[in-house]
């Protein structure tokens, strides 16, 4: 006890040992005082001590009781202390941050951008890749088919990736592993008319196009989704083709289109010209089983012939268009379900294989196997195509956040340096290092949480902006990107990690103060920091790291941008900038056979007479339409070694097709008007097909058999990129459309124009409508737009990464500027001295600039090898450039060096203007 001086027992914790010591000391003091008094009353010392002990009573028991009480008090104090400390720290941190509002605002903005970008990207990733359907026990759901083929229709030999209605019926009736299984298929574009009376006078007769989905009657029962209003489909509905003209609409559509009126139930809505009754509304938040394409109208599957007249999809085994989803029977495992369902689908396909191609079923199953997967996340067309791009974005925004952390850490370092004296005083007064660390980290956490909260705002705006850009501006991908608990948790977690990233090292350094030095340096807050590789050294290291990270991001940006440029300018084998593509559906208006062939000729003729049109032709699939046909052929004089050898893609086209689209004929001739229904059957091969089947000779004059006919090859055309800029050319054969047994009822007109094709869009539309006003004109678009749409995702990723790359560059430049400016201020006296000794302003400026450029060079040296390795991960997204893309690296370095020069120039100029006397006096 002795020698410690007065100590306030009630405030400071004394520890377990201290408690015992204090109790013993107190008792001993009592005994000593009593003994002394007894001696003074005349007792001998020994007697007095004995007497004192006796009067005290049961000493061990008293000691025990006191100890128990004090230990309890100690524990309570510890808890209270911790809480008080935290409260004090938060109060202190808020005060300090408030005092330096400008500083705090800058930190908050940087962090809000960094965290917000991450949250925005995560929100989209969560909505598209991670979240499960909002239905009970989604983990029991099993999807059957390729979940990305949400809008697909496959004509011809069926495979396991998508089901025809008869296959669905077999699965539904024969399986014992699913308690229920529904089918869901495309409606195509729905023409909906909500009549004036029922929509309160706001709508006209102009049809609108809600996103519809044909689903079997048990759809809502299997998903266990109840009606929000009205009812879902009844058990006895959806039994008879065309029997139940009812629809269920989504809450969202109801709100938007019917203003949330309860009377919407029972109203009539016309779909494809037939009346349907709205019977129910789904609960808010439920947007169907297709993630990324919220369904607005659910139509019973049996109404398909009404929605799409003349298409016997409910009976045709060759039309596959359904995705299936089931709920596992309790106790059944996914593997068991997979085995059972695969067997049923195999049998269904093989037992019903077409007579003309008996092995086709086996082959199709080999190429497109049955897919039975967990269905909790629903189907999604976008999921697969956007996953890679989104993960690239996530990496980019994570890099931005790291660079931002570097900046904040640097600012905190400068702050800590300025506070070194305050901190050393506090430590000298006995504040523990842990205590101070806790206090500094409290500040970091507060800033980070503040930044995170602002980041949520940025993310709220950013994620919808991201979706808007992603969908090419017109109609955003309808993803549900609301903020929920997961997003909040992600942001909070990210903020805390961020706080540790930017706060811990500065705080550790700040509390590693050499007390004597710091206190001695009167008034100069940064004392003691220069002599060792501490503060400023770390600041510079941070800048080097920021430059390295920015370089990585800039190189990636450069590669993506250059790759996108290559995609945009790539040769697709046709005159891409002079073509207008009109898509028509004649089948809907009942055209078939000879009438259809006549219509084709009529339309072609009418469009050819539109001023500005150079030539016109037509084709079934056309260019960049997303539809494709395949067939099996036999080539004269060629023996197929495998079945795959005889599979080719085909398109059926009109006269003058290759001339009209601007393709290059390599041999022979184009299709002509004489290649009609009555003329000899002819075909044209693409270069890849010609080379495969006729490696040496000239195919012209040879024959191929397909569609149970024989065609004479009359020409060879250079490969055309029919559907995507990236695709490898496939073997492709072209037939005159009118020479096929079944002339396609939906086709595209390819219109070569003499000027900007977009300007002819309206006249062409008018010319088509003049032929038959009932004709469904699905779209009229310049080919260049279609091509741009096909690479929209590449463009999106490149644009967004460019944005973030620029952001990182700016942050790194600001960081560099900050460090240089700070160093310049600190070295004012040195510069003054140099100039007093005769240095020119230019020399001093050069000193500063040199250092800035050296730091940048350090970052580039560090970043280049990292960039070389990391950008390899972009390989699958690149087109036309290698993974070692020197121009991208060069550009990134030049951009960085320029930014560094600008960031260094301002402090350099200030350094060069130091007045020697002022500088020396300032010391």
């Amino acid at each position: 006890m002795s020698g410690e001086g007065p100590r306030r027992v009630f405030r400071l914790e004394v520890g377990a040992k201290g408690v015992e010591r204090d109790v013993d000391a107190e008792i001993e003091f009592h005994l000593a005082m009593r003994t002394r008094k007894l001696i003074a009353n005349g007792m001998s010392p020994d007697q007095a001590r004995q007497q004192a002990l006796r009067r005290f009573g049961d000493l061990p028991k008293v000691r025990d009781q006191c100890l128990t009480i004090d230990q309890g008090r100690e524990r309570a104090m510890k808890h209270a202390d911790r809480f008080t400390n935290l409260r004090l720290d938060i109060g202190y941190a808020v005060r300090t941050l408030w005092q330096r509002r400008g500083f705090t605002t800058v930190l908050l903005l940087i962090l809000a951008l960094g965290i917000g970008a991450n949250t925005a990207t995560f929100t989209v990733i969560d909505a598209l890749l991670l979240r499960t359907l909002p239905v009970p026990h989604s983990e029991e759901l099993v999807s059957i088919g390729d979940p990305s083929r949400t809008g697909a229709v496959s004509e011809g030999t069926p495979g396991g990736d998508i089901a025809s209605f008869p296959v669905y019926a077999d699965v539904r009736d024969q399986n014992h592993v699913l308690s229920g299984v529904y089918a869901s298929g495309r409606t195509g574009r729905l023409d909906a008319i909500i009549d004036r009376a029922s929509s309160g006078g706001s709508a006209g007769d102009e049809p609108e196009h809600p996103r519809g989905r044909l689903v079997s009657g048990n759809f809502f029962a299997v998903l266990e989704v109840p009606a929000y209003l009205g009812r879902t489909f009844a058990a006895d509905e959806d039994k008879v083709p065309g029997g139940d003209p009812v629809v269920v609409i989504s809450h969202d559509y109801w709100q938007r289109r019917f203003g949330g009126e309860r009377s919407a139930i029972g109203r009539s809505i016309s779909l494809a010209g037939s009346p349907f009754t709205i019977v129910g509304i789904t609960p808010p938040g439920f947007s169907g089983d297709i993630v990324g394409q919220a369904t607005e109208v659910w139509i019973p599957l049996m109404m398909q012939p009404v929605i799409m007249p003349h298409r016997p999809w409910l009976t045709d085994r060759a039309t596959s268009w359904l995705l299936l989803m089931g709920r596992l029977t309790p106790g059944k495992a996914l593997a068991e379900a997979r085995a059972a369902l695969t067997t049923i689908i195999r049998r269904s396909l093989i037992d019903n294989a077409s007579q003309t191609d008996p092995t086709g079923g086996e082959r199709a199953l080999r190429n497109r196997p049955v897919q039975v997967e967990p269905g909790a996340k629903g189907f999604s067309y976008y999921r697969r195509s956007y996953a890679q791009g989104l993960l690239t974005l996530m990496a980019a925004v994570a890099l931005v956040l790291l660079v931002a952390c570097g900046n904040v850490a640097n600012l905190m370092l400068a702050r800590a340096a300025a506070r070194a004296r305050e901190i050393s005083v506090r430590m000298a007064l006995g504040a523990g290092r842990l205590r101070l660390l806790q206090q500094l980290l409290t500040e970091s956490v507060l800033i980070a949480l503040g930044g995170g909260a602002l980041g949520l705002l940025v993310a709220y705006w950013g994620s919808s902006a991201l979706l808007r850009i992603a969908s090419g501006g017109s109609r955003p991908i309808p993803l549900d990107v609301h903020l929920d608990g997961r997003i909040l948790a992600f942001t909070a977690g990210l903020s805390l990690v961020t706080a540790v990233l930017f706060g811990l090292v500065p705080a550790l350094l700040a509390t590693r103060v050499d007390l004597a030095t710091a206190l001695r340096a009167q008034g100069r807050g940064v004392a003691g920091a220069t002599s060792r590789p501490g503060r400023l050294g770390l600041g510079k290291m941070l800048v080097v790291a920021q430059v390295a990270l920015s370089l990585l991001l800039l190189v990636g940006t450069g590669m993506l941008v250059r790759s996108t440029q290559r995609l945009e300018q790539a040769d697709v084998g046709v005159a891409r900038d002079q073509l207008l593509v009109a898509s028509v559906d004649a089948e809907r208006s009942g055209y078939a056979g000879l009438r259809l062939a006549a219509l084709m000729r009529d339309l072609t003729e009418r469009v050819r007479n539109v001023p500005g049109v150079a030539s016109v032709s037509l084709s079934e699939n056309g260019l960049f339409s997303g539809t494709e046909s395949g067939t099996t052929i036999q080539v004269e004089g060629f023996t197929a070694r495998t079945e795959a050898d005889s599979v080719v893609a085909y398109d059926d086209v009109g006269p003058d097709y290759f001339h009209a689209v601007g393709a290059h004929l390599l041999r022979g001739r184009d299709f002509e008007a004489r290649d009609n229904e009555s003329g000899p059957k002819v075909a044209v091969l693409n270069e890849t097909m010609a080379r495969f089947f006729f490696p040496k000779g000239n195919p012209v004059g040879h024959h191929v058999s397909a569609d149970s006919s024989t065609f004479e090859i009359v020409g060879v055309v250079a490969d055309i990129q029919e559907h995507s800029v990236r695709e490898e050319p496939v073997r492709r054969i072209y037939f005159p459309a009118v020479q096929l047994k079944q002339i396609p009822g939906g086709f595209k007109l390819e219109i070569r124009t003499t000027s900007d094709p977009a300007r002819l869009s309206a006249p062409v539309r008018r010319a088509l409508a003049a032929a038959d006003p009932t004709l469904a004109i699905l779209s009229v678009d310049p080919l260049s737009d279609l091509i741009r749409d096909s690479i929209s995702q590449d463009r999106l990723v490149a644009q967004v990464v460019t944005f973030f790359g620029t952001l990182a560059l700016v942050l790194a430049a600001v960081g560099l500027y900050g460090v240089m400016a700070y160093a310049t201020v600190r070295n004012t006296s040195e510069f003054g001295l140099r100039m007093a000794l005769g240095a020119e302003p230019g020399d001093v400026a050069f000193l500063v600039l040199k250092e800035a450029l050296l730091l940048t060079a350090g970052g580039v040296l560090l970043g280049t090898p990292i960039a070389l390795v990391v950008t390899r991960m972009l390989r699958s997204q690149l087109f036309g450039i290698g993974t070692l893309d020197l121009p991208s690296i060069g550009i990134a370095i030049v951009v960085l060096a320029t930014s560094a020069a600008i960031a260094g120039y301002l402090p350099a100029r200030r350094a060069s203007r130091v007045a020697p006397l002022d500088a020396l006096r300032a010391d």
């Binding site: 009630f10 107190e26 009592h30 002394r36 009573g57 049961d58 009480i69």
Partner: protein, 115 residues
Amino acid sequence: MDDLDVSLTRGTLDLLLLKALSWGPRHGYAVVDWIEQATGAALIVGEGTLYPALHRLERHGLVEADWGLSENNRHAKYYHLSAAGHRRLQGGTTSWHQFVESAGRALRATSPEPA
């Protein structure tokens, strides 16, 4: 003494300890000494029994303690009343007097019927 033991409840002892400290900080010995003097040594069974009571008061925030130098230059734990302790002493004294008065009235009664 046995009779007095009965009434020497913990509450009474607490009250006496608070009273002992009402003139300013004292160490435990002085508190004990004062109570012995003031009650004519009648109340004390063992001096030690007062210490757990003092510590309990400290635990409950009625008294606070500092280590300081005693009159003979030894380190001693000095107790003083906290604000709460002052309030408790005032309130407790009033209640004590009321209790003693009513108990006394009852004990002085001469007939089973209330007066």
